[in-house]
């Protein structure tokens, strides 16, 4: 996808209009600094994050950890990897690490491991100060973030933590809903039988409710703040 500075400009305007806090980083350092400053300002101890090539590219996890922030990977595969000291471990070893982490005896079977991971992660999201996810692309006309996934962890990391930050590649912005639909149609489902990924979320601005008089713009049930960090790396 080609860089389109016009799209970035439009995107910025629309996202700000709907209450997102938006920052465009021209270098990896700027991006990391933005997040470190946020973490510091909000006194965030724990970050949950979903798989993100952009985060990996700027060494985000290491930087956060170096600054004393606990970073928890939320895709089960990565979460297990993290538990196993960053390497691929056999099933019985995985079961053992989960057992020792949770204090519960886990069978070395995929189903038991999956269940245990779900249980542990469920509590993790809501207790995290910050959720970091990566959008697959943005929609300029409405300032929308689009994320495609099969696992469901990115949606939870986006909805449950106190603050949510999305990384968006400045090259990945489409003009409008119609272009978004085109892109989605050209994305394989990734699971047999799926024509499109299991979960596709369009996130536009910050969650709100009109249900209580006088609180139209207050936080409803999602994060208190939505940050969008556009990486327009030179």
């Amino acid at each position: 996808m080609a860089v389109n500075p016009e799209y970035i400009e439009r995107y910025k305007k629309e996202a700000a209009r709907v209450g997102s806090k938006i920052f465009v980083a021209a270098t990896a350092e700027e991006a990391v600094n933005y997040i470190l400053a946020l973490v510091k300002e909000k006194n965030i101890q724990t970050v949950v994050k979903s798989d993100s090539a952009l985060a990996a590219g700027i060494g985000l996890r290491e930087q956060l950890e170096n600054n004393g922030v606990r970073v928890i990977e939320t895709s089960i595969v990565q979460w297990i990897r993290q538990l196993s000291g960053g390497r691929e471990a056999p099933l019985d070893e995985i079961a053992a690490s989960i057992s020792s982490a949770t204090g519960e005896k886990i069978e070395p079977k995929p189903e038991a491991i999956l269940k245990a991971a779900r249980r542990v992660l469920k509590d993790t999201y809501a207790n995290a100060g910050l959720g970091i996810t990566q959008a697959d692309f943005g929609i300029a006309e409405s300032g929308t973030l689009v994320s495609l996934e099969n696992e469901g962890n990115a949606r939870l990391a986006a909805a449950l933590p106190h603050i949510h930050l999305t990384l968006l590649d400045g090259n990945c912005i489409v003009a409008n809903l119609a272009e978004a639909a085109e892109r989605i149609k050209n994305t394989a489902g990734g699971i047999p039988g799926h024509k499109v990924p299991t979960f596709i979320t369009y996130l536009t601005g910050r969650n709100t409710t009109g249900d209580i008089p006088g609180a139209l713009f207050a936080r409803a049930q999602g994060p208190e703040e939505e940050h969008i960090l556009i990486l327009a790396l030179q």
């Binding site: 629309e14 939320t74 469920k122 929308t144 639909a181 699971i191 299991t198």
Partner: protein
């Protein structure tokens, strides 16, 4: 059953909390609509959505098949429920199989419709509503008051009191504190829940996808965190592809509260996966392990098979029609007594719930057409309401009073005139010196509850016009004047004004003999046969002398002649052709004066400040609203706009007889808006509006004069 409709209306109007809470609706929705319509061509988008909905509903059986296949291939389990009972039992069975004790639920009108929550609760399962408004309503033991804003009828104080009672803690009235209290309690419910229930806004057949929109974020959590997700979906939500979904998304949020898109738009296709560990697949992800989609019929097939009502299925539940409905603004949703509110709710109630009750609701409609202009799916809701009334008349006949009034009197012009003469005598004891009637005896007392009525003029128009029944011969444009009942019997002076203005435009006005009531009162009460008889009669009388134009001073009549006669006569090819011919000649007076380039309005001095009230059927029925304003300004007046100049005045057809207090409440808002402008004169362009506004201002003993634009301009031109 709840209290009768009249009682419910009365209670709602007397409920100060409700009235305070409702004040918020107008502010919220007016700003929202303005924001929502910015930068789009609404007509283009809505035609597109209408066509896509039309196609989807036509193709429904095929789409269901396609959806089932694709959803199943992606791991969902689709169940088709014929009615409420089947849907409820399916979900309960499922809950039992999985040992579910706690359920979280996001907003779904359909689950309200089928009573799912109650069904599950009776079986001992704990169900928590997670939409904040729904939760408030649930805690209060009530039903949603608005399809989009369930708790729109509650004030902050009421919510604080409720939460204090439920939590046992003193909760302050700060909005944020109230929100925090609810949010925190919901967080635990999400974690505890073994099942999440949602609705869906759209189902995409091509991919087997559910589309769910929420603003609060609860939808995301409910549909992801619980091990079991059950989506309860009305089958009318099915559409073909992503493009169709986009057509809905383009308008749903804009029409509902204004923003371009809802905060969360979620597309869910089957069940997910977390991939594999060391080549061994993890059979599932972090979302639900099972996804059940219950496609509900519950009256939708019947609706689909009823050509007169089918379009009700195009509804995307945006709530725009409620936001703009003057009846809703007076009484809110609970008055409707079932689940669905407002005009569209009346139709849905008829098919999904109780036709009898729906007939009752249909009598609340003012016929103001406001809903029709805002509906993103292009549903002509007022027409559906009329069809419902007609269906009732077909099935159950008319009550005696209406039968006498419409079929006995109105249907025949000579009898109408005799009746008017008789009434002109009978009214004497009730007539005040200024020719107003302020108090009628039982059983007509209703009529003078909220307004004073004009007396029937003893010098009826037809008599006065006897010498003007043919147009002057020559080359001037022949303009037939169609008076309408209110002019003919209450305000015959208007006839003189019209002739004067038309003379000044160098046309040849005349008053076609034999013209009768346009038939609108009967027709819109569901009496199509009286409507047709009068249509036939008027088409003949009005076309007899081959006029160039047919002019009216009552847009209700004009809209009837122009828009309804062609529909009414569709069964008779020759008559239909004449109806179209007549329709093409029909003009409202202001429209015609502008079209003829009226010279009657030389700039006058004085420049009194006046305000203008848009009659519903002139603005929305005929699309005429700049013309009267131009004429007023051309006449040298300064026009100040009132707040909501095009809001209904409460002269609401049937409702005037059945629910005068409701009409009174709508009138009150209009009069408040008029008075707030500080003018001495309000101009309008409809005889019925004149009657209503004069009657109401008289009750207030207000010095503000209400003038029909015909008289206003005619008086001006003599200066």
């Amino acid at each position: 059953m709840a209290a009768g409709i009249k009682k419910r209306i009365k209670n709602a109007l007397a409920d100060n909390n409700l009235q305070t809470a409702l004040g918020r609706l107008a502010v919220l929705t007016k700003g929202g609509r303005r924001m929502g319509m910015k930068g789009i061509d609404f007509e283009v988008l809505r035609n597109d959505l209408h066509d896509r909905k039309e196609k989807s509903i036509a193709n429904l059986p095929h789409l269901i098949q396609q959806f089932k296949e694709n959803a199943a291939a992606a791991g969902a389990i689709v169940y088709e429920a014929g009615d409420a009972r089947e849907a409820n039992e399916y979900v309960l069975r499922l809950a039992r199989q999985h040992g579910v004790r706690h359920i979280v639920k996001s907003k779904s009108m359909l689950t309200e419709e089928i009573g799912l929550k109650e069904h599950l609760e009776q079986a001992g399962i704990h169900v928590v509503e997670t939409d904040i408004g729904e939760r408030i309503v649930q805690l209060a033991g009530e039903r949603p008051a608005h399809i989009v804003g369930p708790a729109i009828h509650k004030t902050v104080d009421q919510i604080a009191e409720l939460l204090s009672r439920v939590t046992g803690n003193e909760i302050g009235t700060g909005s944020q504190e109230l929100l925090d209290t609810i949010r925190d309690s919901l967080r635990q419910s999400y974690l505890d829940a073994e099942m999440g229930i949602s609705g869906a806004n759209i189902c995409i057949a091509e991919t087997g996808t559910l589309v769910i929109v929420t603003n609060e974020g609860n939808g995301q959590i409910v549909t992801t965190l619980s091990p079991l997700h059950v989506a309860i979906v009305g089958m009318e939500k099915l559409m073909g592809g992503l493009e169709d979904a986009n057509a809905v998304l383009h308008l749903l949020s804009r029409c509902c509260v204004g923003p371009r898109l809802t905060v969360y738009t979620s597309f869910i296709t089957g069940t997910g996966s977390a991939g594999d560990i060391g080549g061994i697949p993890l059979c599932g992800g972090q979302g639900p392990r099972e996804l059940h989609i219950v496609l509900v019929d519950n009256g939708r097939s019947e609706l689909r098979n009823s050509p007169e009502f089918r379009k009700a299925l195009y509804c995307i539940k945006c709530g725009a029609c409620l936001n703009i409905c003057p009846v809703f603004a007076s009484v809110a949703g609970q008055v409707y007594g079932h689940i669905y509110q407002g005009g569209i709710g009346t139709i849905l109630t008829a098919f999904f719930h109780d036709p009898q009750r729906a007939h009752e609701l249909s009598e609340m409609c003012m016929g103001c057409l406001a809903c029709r202009t805002v509906c993103p799916s292009g549903i002509d809701i007022p027409r559906l309401i009329r069809n419902l009334k007609a269906r009732k008349v077909r099935k159950h006949g008319f009550p005696l009073l209406k039968r006498v009034a419409y079929r006995g009197i109105l249907k025949s012009p000579s009898r109408t005139e005799s009746a008017a003469r008789a009434l002109a005598k009978l009214q004497q004891p009730f007539l005040d010196a200024d020719y107003m009637i302020r108090k009628l005896p039982y059983p007509l007392g209703n009529l003078t509850d909220t307004i004073s009525l004009p007396g029937i003029n003893s010098s009826l128009l037809a008599g006065r016009m006897r010498s003007h029944q043919t147009p002057e011969t020559g080359t001037k444009a022949k303009v037939a004047f169609f008076a309408g009942c209110v002019t003919a019997y209450a305000y015959p002076d208007l006839g003189d004004a019209v002739f004067k203005l038309l003379d000044e435009c160098d046309t040849a006005p005349y008053y076609p003999a034999g013209q009768a009531c346009c038939g609108a009162p009967a027709y819109f009460s569901g009496d199509s046969s009286t409507g047709l008889t009068l249509a036939r009669h008027n088409i003949e009388s009005l076309l007899l002398m081959e006029p160039d134009y047919v002019v009216t001073v009552c847009p209700g009549c004009a809209a009837m002649l122009k828009n309804e006669y062609p529909l009414l006569t569709s069964g008779d090819a020759a008559l239909h052709k004449s109806a179209l011919k007549l329709g093409a000649k029909v003009r409202d007076l202001s429209q015609l004066l502008i079209e003829l380039g009226s010279e009657s309005a030389e700039k006058a001095t004085g420049g009194e400040i006046v305000t203008y009230h848009d009659p519903c059927h002139l603005k929305r029925g005929l699309g005429v609203f700049t013309e009267p304003r131009k004429l007023i300004e051309k006449a040298g007046y300064e026009l100040v706009e009132m707040n909501d100049p095009d809001a209904c005045c409460g002269f609401g057809g049937d409702a005037l007889l059945t629910h005068p207090e409701l009409c009174g409440s709508i009138l009150k808002r209009k009069l408040d808006n008029i008075e707030a402008t500080g003018v001495n004169t309000v101009v309008t362009a409809c005889t019925a509006c004149v009657l209503q506004l004069r009657g109401g201002l008289d009750r207030r003993k207000s010095p503000i004069k209400v003038v029909h634009i015909a008289e206003f301009l005619a008086k001006e031109s003599t200066k």
